[in-house]
Symmetry: C2
Subunit: 232 residues, 2 copies
DNA sequence: GTCTATATGTTGATAGAC
DNA sequence: GTCTATCAACATATAGAC
């Protein structure tokens, strides 16, 4: 029942120099292949619905190897989630924390996020679903977003953006809005269409191509929509 | 393997007159209690993660009864999803289809949706997660939304709203926007905060109370934000 | 590191008494 | 309609050979 905590993972990846690509390394080493396979399967079925067997098949290895590298399904799930979480927002956080003008930030975020999500469209649904069923993974989500404590980053971003909003308001270039609402509005408009894609596509009768077109139009029009909302 | 299709469900609910509340009916009849319990459990764990046993416990009955009423876990999941899907959007669809002025529709939808979701905050994550893992349930989602064919309702709404937008644009009261973008923007702003609640709460350090306050502020400010975005 | 074989525990589902 | 008892099918995880 109680497992020894440190049947240490086979090796820490990273600093091995001068390794002439070994046979296993040809298409990425095994651990990486497993992680990728797990990512694919978890994405499609959700962690609870996924079978270790299928992940092994997808990775082209035996299922015992998954346990050799990741010890348990739950830890594998954590690893995958952690990596996935690192793809949703850190670029956005970087832009927000910078000292560029607010309007420029909005344009940059819309572009960055819509481009990224176009490449990994299932990411939002996966993250949302995972967080709904495993609230304890919020920690992973945050730490994937940054190295700092849970809400330290959030607070910093709110302060920075809040400051910029105040400036704009004082200069009569913007109507007041709470920075929390500002951020949630922006993220909602970027992320939700992907999270709710099946719904949206079905309701409006969009096939894959039409959806892509819809997103391209969005990428172009959304920044103005958002910025107009804040004109005084 | 092949199951006879029609070991018909025990009875069709609905038209039984003059039934002096039988003992079982006192706190809702059994089928209803099971459905409610399943709703709760599926919501929390997701369908794949849920256990029939736990649903039975939650309903206060034996797990064999679940199969008596719903035949299989999958059918129970369908029933729950169908009912849940009917809570997310039909009120919105009703407002959109009406002949009220566009601005009024926006205000009504924000209020209706935020009020409803405040009462059932896990609904969006559940629907999103379920649709991501079971694309085949889109049909249920749509038919729960209306009696009509898959995208018939969507098309009608787009036509109505599109017409109203055109009017407003011609009268120079609104800047042009595709009705698809209009609707997705509105729904994004209403629904996403609930779907991504754990993320948002963690990043901004909101407890339950602060989140509720956040939503109340949103209910008040969102309509103007949205309508301002479309000023010419 | 990677495989085969297997232990161990759940889980959805059914049979049959009441 | 509701319960008890039980089955058959998996799924996760480990042992141990190579």
């Amino acid at each position: 029942m109680v497992k020894q905590v440190s049947k240490s993972p086979p090796r820490a990846r990273g600093g091995v120099p001068y390794v002439t690509t070994s046979p296993a390394e040809l298409d990425g080493d095994t651990e990486q292949r497993i992680l990728d396979a797990a990512h694919t399967v978890f994405m499609k079925t959700g962690t609870a619905g996924a079978r270790m067997q299928e992940i092994a098949r997808e990775a082209g290895v035996n299922s015992a190897l998954l346990h050799y590298y990741f010890r348990s399904k739950d830890r594998l799930a954590e690893a995958v989630f952690h990596r996935a979480a690192g793809q949703l927002l850190p670029a956005v956080a970087g832009v927000l924390a910078s000292d560029r003008p607010l309007a420029e930030k909005v344009r940059a975020i819309v572009e960055i996020e819509l481009d990224r999500l176009s490449r990994t469209p299932y990411l939002p649904a996966y993250i949302i679903s995972e967080l709904a069923h495993h609230p304890e993974r919020i920690t992973h989500f945050i730490s994937a977003l940054t190295g700092s404590q849970p809400d330290a980053l959030g607070r910093r971003l709110l302060r920075v953006v809040g400051g910029q909003i105040d400036e704009e308001v004082r200069a009569r270039r913007m109507r007041p809005i709470a920075p929390e609402q500002f951020l949630v509005n922006l993220l909602s408009l970027c992320i939700f269409p992907f999270a709710a894609r099946p719904m949206i596509s079905a309701m409006m009768g969009l096939d894959d191509k039409a959806f892509a077109r819809f997103i391209r139009e969005r990428r172009e029009k959304l920044p103005d929509f958002f910025l107009n909302a804040l004109r005084p």
